[in-house]
Symmetry: C2
Subunit: 205 residues, 2 copies
């Protein structure tokens, strides 16, 4: 911040500059909205020149897309790992929801950017990479529900409705949950899961 | 649109001009975001001058707030009426969710503005009137769940968790439901409700 402006300069040395840019941009998009954030704002937040930002990203839209892709990639990797542990469908659904909530809490601004920060709803066009990640994530969840129904652990439900319900509960957290205020997100996810499982169990507990 | 510009003019005669302004502004906020919409855009959409808009609203923020208040007022009135009919807690919860979904579908842009259109999440400050309406709405839902638990119709659950889950399912619809494409919103609400009730019933159906 104290360096003289370098108009066409290369970015100053910093660790993981792409990651730093995405972190700061996500926080700005989440707080001020996509339209309300300029590349200059991002440059100031990172502590580099606007030219340095252009060294990594040609425009704001690509920063936005990179945030979405990075957030989804991390989510899919983390949650996939969490549900791979042995266990029945019920245990795996609990792990799915809690791992999702943990990841959301740790990458709060990325989620906010993905799910809230882009004000104009009809302008959202997910790029192919993000769409594939999201589809894969939804498939993973549906496979857990389907496995549970086949094994008799869950009653027969519409797998699409049940899966969309689980993701609705988790995704809506962006609108009311604030990290660092009270319980961790995973505690709420566990409560939701208990409620959902009550609706999924073959016999009432 | 073909009239000559009237800079300080009174608005042209139209039925319910305030309502027309709110309708057009809600559609613009929903589609292009709050930041992406100017008062001039609203004036063009209504077919009046910008001065005519100022005759009714001093600024964009007050239009936004009026959309939220109008949407919430209508929602509370409609859903309250729907759940007042005799019936047990289960029947009333079904009616609550379906009436909410119907109202959402009929006032799609108002909901989008309220729940999506305002990109910068941390900038959202609900005015007192909107807060009271929302709190009253949440109380109504919690009272249905509480009644059901007292009557033995629902199992003992955390009333806040269950109510927040119901509203999460309904509210997240703004992110995937498009009116006029396939089933009505109330059909999805009914499916969610069946799933939720499975989790609430004392005995498994």
């Amino acid at each position: 911040m104290n360096e003289p402006a370098r108009r066409q300069g290369r970015p100053p040395k910093m660790e993981n500059p792409r990651g730093r840019i995405l972190d700061e941009a996500a926080e700005l998009f989440a707080k001020n909205g996509y339209e309300g954030t300029s590349l200059s704002d991002v440059a100031v937040a990172v502590g580099v020149t606007k030219a340095a930002i252009f060294h990594y990203f040609p425009n704001k839209k690509e920063i936005y897309e990179a945030i979405i892709v990075r957030t989804l990639q991390g989510l899919v990797e983390t949650v996939t790992l969490a549900v791979e542990v042995d266990g029945d469908a019920e245990a795996r659904l609990v792990r799915f929801m809690m791992a999702h909530a943990d990841y959301f809490e740790q990458h709060y601004y990325g989620f906010m950017t993905m799910l809230v920060g882009y004000g104009g709803m009809e302008n959202i066009t997910l790029i192919e990479e993000a769409r594939k990640l999201r589809d894969g994530y939804e498939s993973l969840l549906r496979s857990i529900v389907t496995t549970g129904m086949k094994s008799g652990c869950f009653r027969q439900v519409d797998v699409h409705v049940a899966s969309r319900a689980v993701l609705s509960l988790l995704n809506w957290m962006v609108r009311w949950y604030k990290p660092g205020h009270g319980s961790p997100a995973s505690a709420f996810a566990k409560e939701y899961c208990d409620l959902m499982l009550g609706g999924l169990r073959t016999r009432q507990a």
